[in-house]
Subunit: 184 residues, 2 copies
Amino acid sequence: MSDYIEKEPEKHDRGLVMVLTGDGKGKTTSALGQALRAIGHGSKVYMIQFMKGRKYGEVIAAEKHLPGLIVEQFGLDSFVMRDNPAPVDIELAQKGLKRATEIIASNAYDMVILDEINVAIDFKLVSLDEVLNLIKNKPSELNLILTGRYAPPEIVEIADMVSEVKEIKHHYASGIKGRAGIEF
Amino acid sequence: MSDYIEKEPEKHDRGLVMVLTGDGKGKTTSALGQALRAIGHGSKVYMIQFMKGRKYGEVIAAEKHLPGLIVEQFGLDSFVMRDNPAPVDIELAQKGLKRATEIIASNAYDMVILDEINVAIDFKLVSLDEVLNLIKNKPSELNLILTGRYAPPEIVEIADMVSEVKEIKHHYASGIKGRAGIEF
């Protein structure tokens, strides 16, 4: 099996732009699993979480166990109101986008994940045009993952891979609340 | 933020049965991300991969970095033919189900993932009734995740959470082949 163990991550002329959208559970976790898989092959991964400030399990696990994964949060531990975001929500998302731009331009990572960026666009915390520019100007080899419901058609259009995670049923509906290790 | 750092994983009287199905990319990776999140909160996770034998990135990453995650494979590094599975494919899947039964009964894990089990059922490598029994008899607190396209309605029915990952577009369609760190 040693054929599959790469000392250096595979480099391809064209990295992939992958989008995980839809209303179902499994978008951020899918990006995280993709990160874990890539790390197994020696990749370095940077995840920027928009609109999240709670110390999610992945933040703790990355700090503790995975030198190849950095998770940085740009948000508060409270919900952003879609029609009335607080100035601090906008400010933090803007900072996140600035950091994303730096991290992508640095070319120091094999995979960059912009978690909940689609929602940040939809909520008008960041502009669609800026995100489109970020995608179009990424280093060619970089794998870029964008998550969050409401992926704009312009991003779907230029992506290589798009999955829509549809909610068939959710335990919230039976009164089960968000749980550590499951929702965060 | 230390409020969120649990020394012991949260225990609930009723763990969740979660299903990730559909034809899109992001089911196994979503389960892996869920594992990573749970590990951050101190959970122990056991993933059994059916119909897979290739040394996926997650297998390497788990061995190298994550003492809280065991990934065990019960399959070959070749595709199983749906209408004509080899005896060895059936034998390995049966062994996987036996191991799953032991692991679940041991009550030593907070989360168990049966990766591609839905496909193993659809391909008739394992019986639906046996898997239903496994789910119904699991320790109450255990979180159980079942992945793979073709989730049978009987499993969807008894699950707490079901997400369908739909393929909107895939890079395979533009001639890009499976890549280390992306597909395996």
